[in-house]
Amino acid sequence: MKRVSRHYSAWSLLRARLQGAGYWRPLWTGRALQPAYDVVVVGAGGHGLATAYHLAKDHGIKRVAVLEKRLVGYGNVGRNTTIVRSNYLLPENHYFYEDALRRYEGLGRELNYNIMYSPRGVVDLALSDDDFPVLARRGNALRLAGIDAELMDLPALEKFVPALGPRRSRRFTIAGALVQHRGGTVRHDAVAWGYARAATALGVDIIEDCEVTGLHTAGGSATAVQTSRGEVKAGAVVFATAGHTGLVGNMLGVPLPIETHLLQAMVTEPVKPLLDTVLVYVAPGHAESYISQSDRGGIVLGGHIDGFPSYTREGAWHRLEDVVQASVELLPQVGQLKLLRHWAGTNDMTMDGSPIIDRVKYDNVFLNAGWCYGGFKAIPASGAACARMVATGITPDLIRAYRLSRFATGHLLDEPGYGPYPVKL
């Protein structure tokens, strides 16, 4: 077995410079798949890796495996628009996402890996006077919960985001904004790599190219998972497969309140600094859109889901057009840019827009799923809470509202307000 990656510091950078290319080591090593584990986590994305990391670190569970069908970080942890924030209206959501944001603030230090957390501010725009009270209500709810939120009128906003200064070619007026200053962006791949590296250092096995195809059970418990590399005994199984959880539901024989939709994102060619915040807005006649500028200079654009089930990871053209139109209507100055890359991820869309972290069907099978558009920003909180649930058997207060039975009992967390559909009708 290769030795794990070294501790990173200014000192290690200096030593690497002197020692040359041989200094750096793989971030996670390729230990062979063992025949039995205490916990098998399915899916080496953000949530799976964070869950495995916290199982090993907080609960001392040493025999943990993360089985991944493809590669570490192949799925949505590498396909999102890197935005982190906790400015949700519903208490169950804003406390949970605030826990995630607080963990993100210290995550670079905790993992000893630079995740490039940039608290540049998330700006929710009000495009009419009618939007203002809605944002004020959300801001008040956040401030009552001890989460930072600032309501800005137009002069203050133009000072805070100079790119939103008056332009004749903008199609609509801007009234103001609700700003969360601690929100911002995090280097998404670094989160996956950092968790993978830290988990490996704690003895977690990360097995890539290993697809889970079935579950062996006996008397209401899972005993093993069937994989493309043979049977693996498991004391507990966690499915952290958001984007393909509907298919896990098929495998378990449990219909879930989840549809799988595509969410697109795109980035333009790099330009000089234009935008040092994240803009979120609903332009008239368009779905919700968000714009930020990456450290490399590309303008990152994202929008609403495509609106029908798909596993293709190829976005629909009309949605791309909608996102681009909305961005040009808000920031006419980006209209001349070329799109450099465009991609899509498969999203678990639940019927109330909130996630599911719960036991499912068997007493030792757990589901960490249904992340809708909020998966990336939830990773640190989801990993810690899910690990605690698996290790202790007790559901932490923070995720009690995310139980699967809420759909049957009517305790929905309908943050987007679309009713029992992932898309606004």
Binding site: G246, L247, G249, N250, P255, L256, P257, I258, E259, T260, G307, F308, P309, S310, Y311, T312, E314, G315, A316, W317, H318, M351, F407, A408, P420, Y421, V423, L425
Partner: protein
């Protein structure tokens, strides 16, 4: 353009129309007999999805669309 982008659907009344005229409503069949199953639960499939759509931007007909969600291919559009 790849066919998996499904830029259009064939409406039985209106012919081939751009996708944004149509609205996906839900997958079929229902996951069970009761109201809860019909409203909240979904039967997912990677190979074949039978779906209820409406041509909201056209004749407003309710359509049954059979698609392959893994390739994006539209197999059938029925009234």
């Amino acid at each position: 353009m790849s066919r998996s982008l499904i830029p259009a659907l064939d409406c039985p009344f209106c012919g081939s129309r751009p996708l944004e005229e149509f609205l996906f409503r839900k997958t079929l069949p229902n996951a069970g007999e009761g109201h809860f199953e019909a409203v909240y639960l979904r039967v997912d499939s990677a190979e074949q999805s039978v779906e209820e759509w409406q041509h909201v931007g056209g004749c407003r007909a309710w359509l049954m669309v059979r698609r392959n969600p893994s390739t994006g291919e539209v197999l059938e559009v029925l009234l």
